[in-house]
Symmetry: C2
Subunit: 143 residues, 2 copies
DNA sequence: ATGAGAATAGTAATCATTCCTAAATTGTAA
DNA sequence: TTACAATTTAGGAATGATTACTATTCTCAT
């Protein structure tokens, strides 16, 4: 009748240089790099690391809640900042950018009280043009 | 010096049976099917339609704003209801479900007034357990 | 009807991601 | 330290979703 350990602790994890390097890389940037970008970053430190290792560790860390996995526009992206915040995706340059503000109201609580869904987390993604691309477009039009 | 037509009207579109069938299929369900599911639906009516046609038309219709493209969990999903609404993804059965409520506040306007981003649309995705899966899990635990 | 542009079916190619395996590495306990 | 079992790794093969390509067919304004 024992409850057993929570899923996330079922097996012990070894701390490898690869895993540490991946986490370092992810935490050193404010962008939301995809696996192949992270691979290139880590390769500067560990030249023979393989893509499989990058994917496996990102997946593990996301499952453990250390990082966020963002399902956005084609490739998956990863975010070293795991506290809830708003995202913006630029339709023009395809960047994924943090919005400098908190989720203003507690939407999650509101939705939770109104439905039977058990909400674990939520994500808000705005799409449109980032300030730079907006400028670029304006210049093009008046040219 | 002429401004030209807006991007979305630059080239004329032919209304083909394939396109109509794809839209019909999508509008006949409240789920959010992926391209391969839509392909199977449409194949009942047009047995020789090709995947390429399905993808191309879904992409076009999404660009035109007739349907929504949801970048969620692996495959892309499509939504025949293009008015803004909230989505829920079940971590257990992987379903993507409409939440029966409107975006309560106008988050978009708030964010718009606070930033320089030009927001075209936004998406809110809750993740967790749907009512059925929540029940299933409870039964498993007490068993 | 007809002709120019647009869309199609079918297939090949691409891209991201996962899977596989033998060898190497990690933490632990003597 | 040493030894060991579990875990992780590199590298490459395999998969799966999506896109690209092309010769042919279709659409619709004239």
């Amino acid at each position: 009748m024992s409850a057993g350990k929570p899923e996330s602790q079922k097996k012990k994890k070894y701390l490898t240089p690869q895993r540490r390097a991946i986490l370092n890389a992810l935490e050193s940037v404010v962008t939301h790099p995809s696996a192949d970008v992270i691979y290139e970053m880590v390769r500067k430190e560990l030249p023979i690391i393989s893509m499989g290792t990058v994917y496996r560790n990102l997946e593990q860390m996301a499952t453990e809640g250390m990082i966020l996995r963002l399902d956005g526009g084609g490739q998956k992206r990863y975010d070293g900042n795991s506290t809830p915040h708003l995202h913006f995706r630029c339709l023009c340059c395809n960047a994924m950018i943090d919005l400098p503000m908190n989720p203003h109201d507690d939407i999650q609580k509101i939705v939770q009280t109104l439905t039977d869904f058990e909400i674990k987390s939520y994500e808000v993604i705005f799409t449109g043009l980032c300030p730079e691309c907006k400028l670029t477009k304006k210049k093009e039009q008046t040219a």
